[in-house]
């Protein structure tokens, strides 16, 4: 019944990609990866599931872990993956992250900085909200002011910190001049920040009938149970193929897998590596692995003994057998790390030699640092998959270098807060974000979540220098310098990057396979169709 207008298909599905390719090339921000963004099955698409021409219609049910009866559709309160997946179906951001975590224009059509990089002119594309009203500069300013409201604690507030919203103003119906507190070469990352969605001016109640500009319109929502959305035929990026999209909540991984196997849902988010192995290539369900989605690390506090001695930190780098950690803690579902965040992302220093286990050298370094027979407590918790396993594997590896690690398991509800300031060594994990954001949130003197206590004035200065450098190649050189420093003496022992695993029924097509979790094409249901 939804096949009445097959004529629309080619124009609606093929051309947005082409338009975007042309557009990105014009702004000079293009990378070839962008072509695969729409995932509509072009010959150069990196999408293994995108076979055939998209079919219109049908209802897709997607199972996510959720937040129970306290869930909300307020996009600025997005916290869990389920929140973000729902938010991106209903709303848009000005920009979003490509597979390499570089910012791609979305509601913003283009952005142009002034010479000193502290004033940015952003032009909006022609887009409308679900009630037919155009998306204007006023809506953008309202949304950003709502997020930064000092009385509220929206997650994106910290990301929008560089923007001086009192001085920023609308210069036209669809153009805004953002005034920044300091030069910010990576300002587009701010526009793409987690949770920085654009809502209509004065919108504040999102649970009754939220209105966004996203690919799907609101139909119904029961917190902790289900959310039903319908196709927005007027979507600026091409109407979705699906007629309806339902998000259902199933907190247990086994329940998500069972629902998928039983055909009760077509898409199940966040599966365990063991589940993936059991069902991969058996034909019943398809397993999609999104690489480079979650950094896995041990975090050493560089401001206190024993890790205030960089020789001890280097020894720990050399103790880790990364392959064994991947195989043991992640059941092989991941890639080894090189003590730097953001493998595969823009600006990643991939020329540095891969660090290998070297116990003799580690022992020698510890001896030089007067830290033989070192005893350390490693904080861990069941807060993330593989944490406790990684801790005990690393304990055994350290034993071979004469280091005694005592594993201490803490509460998973308060883990991130507990490890921020106390302890010396802990398990750490991070979702995808641009390398610049990782540095600004975690590695500067005034960073709010600086868990390695990495505080160096010269490092801060390098960051400011990068943010004031207009030329991208020069900026990349500064980032490379900062990463070399972190590689040799930083506090993050990054041992791996976990795949993000998704299961789908074989008839689900167009699921992007290269997009790390949290990027534009992850959980992007407007480009998915049912075969």
């Amino acid at each position: 019944m939804h096949d009445e207008s097959p004529r629309q298909l080619p124009s609606q599905d093929r051309f947005p990609g082409l338009r975007r390719r042309g557009f990105l090339a014009a702004t000079g921000a293009a990378s070839l990866g962008a072509i695969a963004l729409t995932g509509c099955g072009g010959p150069d698409s990196g999408d293994s599931k995108g076979d055939g021409t998209p079919k219109r219609g049908g209802r897709l049910r997607a199972a996510f872990a959720g937040g129970g009866a306290g869930e909300t559709l307020d996009p600025h309160l997005s916290n869990l993956f389920a929140d973000v997946a729902r938010a991106k179906a209903l709303f848009d951001k000005l920009a979003d992250y490509g597979p390499d975590l570089s910012a791609r224009p979305r509601l913003a059509e283009k952005w142009e900085p002034n010479k000193s990089l502290d004033r940015w002119k952003v032009t909006l594309r022609k887009a409308t909200f679900h009630d037919g009203k155009p998306v204007t500069a006023k809506d953008v300013l309202y949304s950003y002011r709502r997020i930064t409201d000092p009385d509220k604690a929206f997650r994106a507030k910290a990301s929008l910190e560089p923007v001086d919203l009192d001085a920023s103003r609308a210069t036209g119906e669809r153009s805004i001049e953002f005034v920044l507190k300091r030069p910010t070469a990576e300002f587009p990352n701010v526009l793409a920040a987690f949770g920085a969605y654009i809502v209509p001016e004065n919108a504040s109640d999102f649970d009754k009938k939220p209105i966004g500009s996203g690919p799907f319109r609101f139909v119904s929502f029961t917190p902790g149970r289900s959310a039903v959305f319908r196709r927005n035929d007027d979507y600026w990026d091409g109407a979705p193929h699906l007629e309806e999209l339902e998000f259902v909540i199933a907190n247990e991984e086994s329940a998500r897998v069972n629902a998928l196997l039983g055909g009760q849902v077509e898409y199940a988010h966040e599966l365990n590596p063991t589940t993936a192995r059991a069902h991969e290539n058996k034909g019943r369900i398809d397993i999609v692995r999104l690489p480079n989605s979650a950094m896995q690390a041990f975090c050493m506090k560089t401001d206190r003994p024993p890790f205030d001695d960089k020789r001890v930190r280097e020894a720990f780098f050399l103790i880790a057998d990364r392959k064994e950690l991947i195989d043991g803690a992640l059941s092989g579902a991941g890639e080894i790390g090189n003590d730097l965040f953001g493998k595969g992302y823009e600006y990643y220093a991939d020329a540095l030699p891969q660090r290998e286990q070297d116990l003799d050298k580690a022992r020698a370094l510890l001896k030089k640092a007067d830290a033989e027979r070192l005893k350390v407590t490693l904080d861990t918790s069941a807060v993330a998959a593989g944490f406790t396993e990684a801790a005990s594997i690393f304990r055994d590896q350290a034993k071979k270098a004469g280091v005694t690690i005592e594993v201490k398991k803490g509460s998973k509800d308060s883990y991130w807060n507990d490890i921020l300031d106390s302890g010396t060594l802990c398990c750490y994990r991070s979702g995808a974000m641009p390398i610049e954001t990782h540095i600004s949130q975690r590695l500067l003197t005034d960073s709010t979540t600086n868990a390695t206590k990495w505080r160096h004035k010269d490092f801060d200065a390098l960051y400011q220098q990068a943010q004031s450098t207009r030329d991208k190649t020069e900026r990349a050189a500064v980032y490379a310098r900062m990463q070399r420093r972190l590689y040799s003496e930083g506090g993050f022992l990054v041992w791996g990057f976990a795949d993000w695993i998704i299961g789908t029924l074989p008839r689900v097509k167009g699921v992007e396979t290269k997009a790390p979790a949290n990027t534009l094409d992850w959980a992007r249901f407007d480009k998915v169709w049912l075969g």
Binding site: A69, P150, A153, K157, S254, A255, G262, Q264, G410
Partner: protein, 317 residues
């Protein structure tokens, strides 16, 4: 009858005191948990300024006794407070979670009573013979299997391998009755262990009663066998079973978390689990009141039934 009435009054007063004690204890324990709602909500972004802002927005910066007093002040008007996390009324949390829990509990009990008593009596009647041995050994074996293991086993075989039944109730939300097939497996899992314990209790009570002097005496008077069994022996066997049944109903109504999680049924157990993880104290408190009151009422009911069935035993208040 006045004895019974004062007994009920005493028990209700005691029950109210017990519920208050439970609420205070739950409040103290939730406060003692590491981290608060602000910390839980901040998750992996524990930016101290943000945590402080959340704390202030939730009034968590007030002293604990004051938050408890504010919350308790609403109780007499039936106001259970509002959730820290969503700002929605706690009563709505409970109402939403109660419907699926009540449905599951009602179905389970509706099957549990006839099956439990029937099999128990059957086993007692055939004491020592094949039927008894079969029933006794199967119930013992099933009783030894924890719910989650049985649930996974049933889902794997009946839903995934054979495809006879839906594996979960995902997405059905409150409309569980509209999808009866999805209820079969959860009810089976919920039924498994209570049936076993009930069967064994009824069997033992019945065998005891049948061997008792008063039944022997009745037999000598020539009372018909059926009447002897069901009018004389069974009521005595039921008294301990009634208390066991009350405990089972209490367990069911408090939301069986394992079953709810496995079959994606958003009942009270799920609400409680989420509320604890989020340190959503008002919701935890509201549930504690409801669960406390339920336990008191059910136990009282069971004692009254036991009193009626076997007045001789008496009941300690």
């Amino acid at each position: 009858m006045s004895g019974v009435r004062s007994f009920v009054a005493r028990r209700l007063l005691l029950g109210a005191a017990q519920t208050v004690a439970v609420v205070l204890l739950v409040f103290a324990l939730t406060e003692a948990l590491p981290g608060d709602a602000a910390v839980a909500l901040a998750g992996d972004q524990p930016d101290p300024a943000r945590v402080a802002a959340i704390r202030e927005a939730m009034n968590l910066d007030q002293p604990a006794w004051q938050r408890l007093a504010d919350w308790a002040a609403g109780l007499p008007h039936g106001d259970l407070g509002t959730s820290l996390v969503s700002g929605r009324p706690v009563s709505q949390y409970i109402a939403d979670g109660f419907a699926p829990t009540l449905l599951l509990a009602a179905l389970t009990v509706a099957l549990l009573v006839p099956v439990g008593f029937g099999l128990g009596v059957l086993a007692a009647r055939h004491e020592g013979r094949l039927a008894d041995r079969l029933i006794s050994s199967v119930t013992l074996a099933v009783y030894a299997v924890p719910e989650f293991a049985l649930g996974i086993l049933l889902v794997t075989v009946l839903a995934i391998q054979l495809g006879w039944l839906p594996p979960t109730a995902v997405g059905y939300g409150a409309d569980l009755l509209g999808h009866p097939a999805a209820l079969v497996l959860p009810v089976l899992v919920l039924l498994a262990r209570p049936v076993c314990s009930l069967v064994r209790l009824v069997r033992a009570g019945m065998i005891d009663a049948l061997a008792s002097p008063y039944v022997a005496q009745a037999r000598r008077y020539g009372v018909p066998r059926a009447r002897l069994r069901y009018a004389h022996a069974l009521p005595n066997a039921l008294a301990p079973a009634a208390q066991q049944l009350a405990r089972t109903v209490d367990w069911l109504l408090s939301g069986v978390i394992v079953v709810e999680a496995l079959f994606v049924i958003p009942g009270l157990g799920t609400v409680l689990l989420n509320a604890i993880a989020e340190r959503d104290v008002p919701v935890v408190q509201g549930l504690a009141v409801v669960f406390g009151a339920l336990t008191v009422v059910l136990n009282l009911g069971a004692d009254l039934v036991a009193l009626r069935l076997a007045p001789r035993t008496g009941v300690a208040a």
